[in-house]
Symmetry: C2
Subunit: 430 residues, 2 copies
């Protein structure tokens, strides 16, 4: 499926990445500084290329929110270049000794963190994604094949040209950052199993789902973010109001905003009307189950609402008879992203944190904290809702794997087998 040219490009990236994997933290940071300087020098070209992209998009009748994402003026570029320099300060995730164990005298096992290899990153409009992800890839020792949205083509070309120019004067080969430009190449990239180790899609839910369904390469990301807030029987009124309003309205398009509010039936008459009023004052459209429709005089929610991510000022409300019903609802309709409980009852909180199967389980705080920067990771590569690690907000750690190194002095397994088997010492060396 992939053209010979694309395979060759992928092989070059792989080769560059192998060499990058062996560089020191200092060499990688020098390369990142060179990128920052090169982007500074190329600012006029990048801004002009973006101007051209924006004009073409305007002529094609691009939607306003998309236009804002596409737009990359000098100020925004400056912020992004500052972001590049910030990555220098992040600790190097490569070369950490995770296990160090003597298996027997002179036979030593080490588990050491190392780069994944080559990343395939497919993003929609925002051209600055090319800057962020290239820098994080280099810091973590990985090569990266980028594919931007077609609206951002000229911007991405100018950015990647500057990045590669910067790298050309460093220990890092410019081959580690590549740009694909056609849609055919995107599809082909998803089939490049032997050359690409991780796909990171950045875009709409349907786009991420398309990627997940069309590749055998591991995908870091999430399609849906159907997050819940549950107001328990003993929820404190003021906390319930503040957290609900924040979780729904602080940034409704975010994946960690809530879509469904569950309320214990016994406290609904007291707590739900003021919560609803506060939401409505913020312009939130409410939908409800039968009891909530009756209580609040709002339109009815349908079955489909319980699994819908509105990404907008809309919230579905449901009353439940028990914490167990809330848990069942969340574990049935949730997307394993982030779910929260408001309660003053520590047993209820503990049960919720234990039994909700999600990357993030929160007590008495807003779901909006689910974010790599807020968690203190220094960077966010994506948020994963899969079951296996890495899960939740993923920092540089998500671009890293490990290998087992065993060094001996002629040690063979026969020594440790059979009737006179020598025992292993299995002594941790700290």
């Amino acid at each position: 499926m992939a053209s010979p040219t694309l395979i060759e490009l992928a092989q070059k990236t792989r080769q560059g990445a192998r060499q990058l994997a062996g560089l020191t933290t200092e060499e990688k940071n020098q390369a990142i500084e060179a990128i920052a300087q090169s982007l500074e020098q190329a600012t006029p070209e990048i801004v002009a290329a973006n101007q051209a992209d924006c004009e073409a998009a305007t002529a094609a009748g691009i939607a306003k929110p998309l236009y804002h994402r596409l737009k990359l003026d000098e100020t925004k570029l400056k912020t992004n270049i500052a972001g590049v320099r910030d990555v220098q300060k992040l600790p190097d995730p490569v070369g950490r000794v995770q296990i160090h164990r003597e298996l027997d005298e002179g036979l030593v096992l080490k588990r050491i963190s190392c780069p994944l290899g080559v990343l395939g990153v497919i993003f929609e409009a925002r051209p600055e994604a090319a800057i962020q992800i290239s820098t994080l890839a280099i810091k973590s020792g990985n090569g990266v094949i980028l594919k931007g949205g077609k609206e951002a083509l000229q911007s991405c070309e100018a950015i990647v040209k500057a990045i590669r120019q910067g790298l050309s004067q460093t220990a890092v080969s410019p081959d580690v950052v590549q740009l694909l430009t056609s849609r055919e190449e995107t599809v082909a990239l998803l089939k490049l199993d032997p050359y690409v180790d991780l796909i990171i899609p950045r875009g709409s839910n349907s786009f991420v789902r398309f990627v997940q369904e069309n590749t055998n390469i591991p995908v870091l990301g999430h399609a849906d973010g159907v997050c819940h807030l549950y107001l328990d029987e003993s929820a404190e009124r003021e906390k319930a109001i503040a957290i609900t309003v924040d979780a729904k309205t602080q940034y409704p398009a975010a994946c960690n905003a809530i879509e469904t509010l569950l309320v214990h039936r016994s406290c609904a008459p007291q707590i739900l009307p003021p919560v609803a009023q506060a939401l409505q004052e913020k312009g939130v459209k409410l939908l409800g189950d039968e009891a909530s429709v009756e209580l609040l005089g709002i339109p009815a929610a349908t079955e489909a609402d319980w699994s819908t991510e509105y990404s907008d000022l809309i919230l579905a409300i449901k009353q439940v008879d028990s914490l167990e019903e809330a848990l069942n609802h969340i574990n049935t309709y949730g997307s394993k992203h982030t779910d929260a409980i408001v309660t003053e009852n520590p047993q209820a909180a503990q049960l919720f944190l234990n039994q909700v199967d999600a990357a993030g389980v929160y007590h008495n705080c807003s779901t909006r904290f689910a974010d790599g920067f807020r968690y203190g990771f220094g960077a966010e590569v994506g948020i994963s809702t899969q079951q296996m690690p890495p899960r939740g907000p993923v920092g540089l750690e998500g671009l890293i794997t490990y290998k087992y190194q065993v060094t001996g002095n002629g040690h063979i397994s026969a020594t440790y087998s059979g009737a006179n088997a020598k025992p292993f010492t299995h002594r941790d060396m700290g």
Copy 2:
């Protein structure tokens, strides 16, 4: 694709597993002890069921190695019951605090290890796999849906009956261990994405490949084990002989046995003849590239040999001009399982350990050490050759994921956004 009965069974397993996830180490160990006692009591039934399986298999003309795997006599069962009790001693992988960080005063982030959920384990002949994996699943807080080979049907039924009987007197629901019996159910199990979190296939390479290609559920395992040994220019003769013989002949059917021997051209005339002689004395059939055919008078290897896992006393030999050529060969034909170098040159060793992209990279020791027990993990769930963790030999850790818990006291994200944003403290709490 899955029948309503199968979905119902999977849901029951999930429900049992949710409850299991919240139990203490002591409760899980009591359940494991109950399994051991129940298997002891049911020994006559299990041995009789296995006898019946063996007779049916013999009548059907089963191959001898397969028969040996199928056979489960009282002695073998006793060993397995002792293995069950050993699992009690393993540290509980659940509930470990991996990150503990104050985000701000009163707002605390914890990353805590937790069970994956439900495992789907498909194994071929060996019925005792049902015992081992059920015990490890319970220790790690997971439910498990088992599917054994059809030859082992009666044995598996007797074993699972005993396990469930044992569990019925404990805090762990018998529903957490389920047995499927038909081949149709195997295929359906692979499609149970919402109910099964990890598939563990145990069987031949082609069987594992079939599983990998027919499911979207993560698979823990490996299809191929094409391991290499490279004798570098400065390899010491005695180490080279001992390690080559051990890595090829100590257990040739193992996935960590070598299939290809690479030798630096400059030392081949000195080192290869004695190595070849030692191998031939152990009955190893050698195949060679042109230079090795000439040197040793052995049959020629074809291109296909470089990617073949013989799982038998056959070894392909190739001479290379440099360490770089050896690295390229391994990174091209290898299966990322385990590869080793024999050398007295520390720089060469370091380059090899850095640049070979495999779960195991070894220096001056046999590839046969690639094993969870030998690494000191106490148990081995499988060996993974994928790029992302868990990689290499995987112990109980492979059945575990984590979740982020955030607890606050009414904290909302608006406080930390905008012009007067409060900074996070991001203080690690050790």
